[in-house]
């Protein structure tokens, strides 16, 4: 019975992936609702950072021991290396939001 269930589940996932036509391979990515801390300039962070990547990047980095100026390094890496269109003024606000809400000593 258990085997049957596993088999039918496998069949289901394959048909899900391979769609109707055998040459077309398709998946649908799931969506998650990330709970970011409320804080000053949260809106600036959301408007400037989340278009390109998930808040997961912030959570992950914030779990570790951050060195001095970690978020400044990160935000300017996004601007200088990944060419994120963030103004200097907004960069400072984003750094402030991240420092105040996602910093480990």
């Amino acid at each position: 019975m258990k085997k049957l269930l596993i088999l039918s589940l496998t069949a289901l996932s394959i048909s899900f992936v391979k769609a109707e036509e055998k040459d077309i391979y398709k998946i649908d990515l799931p969506y998650y609702n990330w709970q970011m801390k409320e804080g000053k300039y949260k809106d600036v962070f959301e408007q400037n950072c989340l278009m390109c990547h998930s808040p997961g990047y912030i959570f992950g980095q914030a779990k570790g021991k951050s060195g001095k100026d970690m978020w400044r390094t990160v935000v300017y890496q996004m601007i200088d290396e990944f060419k994120a269109p963030i103004s200097k003024e907004n960069a400072e606000k984003i750094i402030q939001y991240l420092n105040e809400n996602y910093t480990n000593k």
């Binding site: 996932s13 998946i27 799931p30 278009m51 992950g60 980095q61 570790g64 021991k65």
Partner: protein, 401 residues
Amino acid sequence: MDSRRDFLKKSIFLAVGGLTLKNAFADEVPTIDFQEYPKTVKYPEKTDLIMYSDRPPLLETPRSYFSKAITPNDAFFVRWHLSNIPTEVNLKEWRLKITGNVKNPVSLSMEDLKSLFEPVSYYAVLQCSGNGRSFFEKSQTSLGIQWKHGAMGNALWTGVRLSDVLNYAGVKKDSIEVAFSGLDKAPYPETPNVERSLHIDKCLYEDLILAYEMNGEPIPMLNGFPLRLIVPGWYATHWIKSVTNIMVLNQELKNFWMETAYHIPDNACHCVEPGEKPKKARMITQMNVKSVIGTPEDNTVVKLGQVIKVAGVAFDQGYGISDVLVSIDGGKSWKQASLGPDLGRYSFREWFFYFKPQNKGEIKVMVKAINKNGETQPFEAGWNPGGYMWNGIDSITIKVF
């Protein structure tokens, strides 16, 4: 400039749209908060994996899979750099283009690849440069995804020799590099798309392949369907996913991915003092010798008198594993583990070790591998700003009562 303005317009539209969507489906969309991060979730074609990000998807294989030499496709880790990743591929339209400094630029269908060239297969470990980055935390957290053990896996890759495909197009004599890029794109047009090059000798005279199968199946979409560059012995950053463009060059490729990203200190230990910047850096290339404990789980509780089997995998850059040593006394003495079958020099090598604890209390089980070049693992890997190449000795704690 226009594309930049379009992007900003789209951003604002999507930001507003996203918020509405969030509210409308608030009950159905799984919530993730800081406390429960990273969360274990299921992605299409994947089993339960540890999720660090959903855009782009970053999924880690749980440690328990590393007691077996072959990592199943559905448990294989996922890592993309840029969030506009391929989610749909029509093989009728898909083509691999070989252009640039060649005699005959060609465009090949999957059928062409499978019929024109001899298929080849081998096992090879795919490991993210930053696998184990979180273990650098003892000195200072490196920037990047805080992977634990599972940004790695071993699979049987089947495909065609890169050299066969390049020779089919006819590499011109003055070529010095080959550049590769795939279907993934940056959401913002000025962000540099992933494009990387390798030296011409590596492409023509080594054992690189363009794989269309992983463990006998088409490569999962999230692992680079339909074609992935396999660079055995080297870190995953070189294994370009969903390859569509191969460009032969008679000059060096210069971009963010070649000049800045994935660079390690250019010295003997590939390390600097925590927090410092290297004087000179270079591109990461070969992996180092490493072993990981798959089972039992950390903090397993056993009864006194019970025999414990510790099992895991070991690998290196391609010399092959000569010995795996286990310590149950905190690293004072080391005993030989038994090795599983040799699946080739680029593969995981299974190892296992049985022992019977003599006393109650906590036992720290440690493992280190030695390769055929005599290299072994350090207790702690040397720190570097990118948190790359962690190969410190792995350990688990077993509680005996």
